[in-house]
Amino acid sequence: METNELLEPFERMLAKLFPPSRVREIDSSAEWQDELAEVEASGFLDILAPEANGGAGLPFSAAIALFAALGRHAAPLGIGRAMLERAGYGEAHSANSELVMLSAMMAGAGDRLLAMTTAYANERVQFGKPIGRQQAVQQNLAVMAEHCVAVRLTVELAGDGSGPPDGLRAALAKSVASTAVPLIANIAHSVHGAIGISAEYDLQLFTRRLHAWRAEQGSESRHHRSLGKSLLAGDAKSVDWLRAEIFDEIA
């Protein structure tokens, strides 16, 4: 099955189940069993589960776009976790896949913020023109876009494969995603100005999550440490190390 065929109905379901008003309630500790039951009925929780267990047995890479969709809709982390649990990857691999799942959700939330912020910059008029025509604002949005693309591609790289990701690639994805959080959240807020600080405006739903997910399962320095220790432990040059350990180009 193509990822896109999965993504569209999944996104439709998330949009219906988790509108911003509902996200706020869940953020204030409301139970969400009804929503969970509906996601369960949709079959999406079993996409990674082995076929022998009645799952779809899809490769890990097929779930990346769905995890990103969770982030884009500020949907509960528990949905992604349930998908991973049923995949039955075993302890070490579960930790790695959770890191990549979190990173994918951060990529999704980042993309949502980028779209919101770009749209806002084109609408908000100051000094007689949309602020998106100010070079200073444009330059910041360009930097935000660069980081969003870097996070997304690193997540795709880490999640590329049929099985769960290995430790180094998981550390890579989480470190790149966590590193980008302050920059992405700060630019989103600075372009939005005061409205972005208000509780009723949706921006905070996503920046709040980015900061929380940045810390979840270790922020950038922790994962940088793993990458650095591995690189320093051998004698490979940087490009060779990347090709062997991260890009899987050397058998």
Partner: protein, 383 residues
């Protein structure tokens, strides 16, 4: 946003080229100290370039009928990555291989292709870029060097500046005004191939802050060129130069300018046995950025391979890539200076000093940071 830039893999099948490039690069740098290897881009060695040509490592994206390898952008990515990782002296063939050859292939006449391309593939025709002028840096459309039609061809007057390797090059592809005035902006510009041995061309080297003289001022005083010096269409220079810049901006070279220094630092850390948490985190932060950039650069190469001209995507990679290249020497300088008890080789110190001095140029050459961000913003639908 930028959803067309998705994960891509270097296809299998170019590994033979990688091994060959690796071997030739290792031979070329065997006797070179680290600080000379760090000059990779400006390291001029025409013999080495001819050797690469003879080995079939130049013109990899060009059709075989013109002496090319017909292997596509990924083959070039692989070879360039190996050359830069080793710090091989690539300056002699760099511009011709990267952008002049694709330009001539795309816009040249059959006669021009046959005349220039086989020699570029052999590493025998060396090119430089004639874009910047004293009054035209980022505002490239304001160039004032003029070419007027004469009975037999073109007469060129004006001046280019910051032209890398022009003194040692055979040809310059110059962006010139062939009609109208600077106020006409993008209209009336054309590209001419200037044989730099033509009378009236004067080249004066400019010393850079590191003591090197790789770039120059080039003066044109009533330089008479034949009609077929025009490449592409008269008046289409702006469109052509934009396409050329996509080639210039999208390659792996926008990640690896400081890679020789990075590897020198890693060797130092291993030699002194320092791998504490803080050091490992710093090393990891750098390699993580390099990994993300490599994924982006490969994704961009896939767009080139699909026949697109990924102008905006290339700008994303270049802006983020040069920021990484510039942060590396700063981080390494701080790291070494914070461990004064460790012996640091003179070679590594000289390399660090060199990269520190020239690093500001990384986000100037090939389009400044601010210009690239403007291109990205337009690609996002701003303005």
């Amino acid at each position: 946003m930028f959803d067309n830039l998705t994960l891509a893999r270097i296809p299998d099948g170019d590994d033979d080229l990688r091994q060959l490039a690796r071997k030739l690069a290792a031979e070329a740098v065997a006797e070179m100290p680290l600080d000379r290897r760090a000059r990779s881009w400006s390291g001029f060695d025409a013999d080495f370039s001819r050797k690469l040509g003879a080995a079939g490592l130049l013109g990899l994206t060009l059709p075989k009928q013109y002496g090319g390898g017909e292997r596509g952008p990924f083959a070039r990515f692989v070879v360039v990555e190996e050359l830069l990782a080793a710090g091989a002296p690539v300056a002699a063939h760099w511009i011709a291989d990267r952008q002049s050859a694709p330009l001539i292939l795309n816009y040249g006449t059959e006669a021009q292709r046959e005349f220039y391309l086989p020699r570029i593939c052999r590493g025998e025709a060396l090119f430089c870029i004639g874009m910047s002028e004293p009054g035209s840096g980022s505002d490239l459309a304001s160039v004032r060097t003029r070419a007027e039609r004469t009975a037999s061809g073109w007469r060129v007057n004006g001046q280019k500046i910051w032209t890398s390797n022009s003194l040692a090059s055979d040809y310059m592809i110059a962006l010139v005004r062939t009609s109208g005035t600077s106020e006409d902006r993008h209209k009336g510009l054309s590209q001419l191939i200037v044989d730099l041995k033509t009378p009236g061309v004067t080249i004066r080297p400019i010393e850079d802050l590191a003591g090197d003289a790789h770039f120059s001022e080039v003066f044109f005083e009533d330089v008479e060129l034949p009609l077929d010096a025009l490449i592409g269409e008269e008046g289409q220079g702006w469109q052509q130069v934009t396409a050329e810049l996509a080639f210039e901006r999208s390659g792996p070279e926008r990640i690896y300018s400081s890679v020789v220094l990075l590897d020198g630092w890693l060797a130092h850390l291993r030699a002194v046995g320092r791998s504490d948490d803080a050091t490992a985190a710093l090393v990891g932060s750098m390699i993580a950025r390099m990994a993300a950039l490599r994924a982006m650069s490969i994704a961009c190469t896939a767009r080139l391979a699909a026949g697109e001209s990924p102008v905006v995507e290339a700008s994303l990679v270049k802006d983020l890539g040069t920021a990484f290249e510039q942060d590396l020497p700063l981080a390494i300088a701080d790291d070494l200076a914070s461990h004064p008890e460790e012996p640091v080789s003179d070679e590594l110190r000289r390399t660090l000093e060199y990269i520190t001095l020239v690093a500001p140029s990384f986000s100037l050459r090939g389009g400044t940071r601010e210009i690239l961000r403007g291109i990205i913003a337009r690609g996002m639908g701003l303005r």
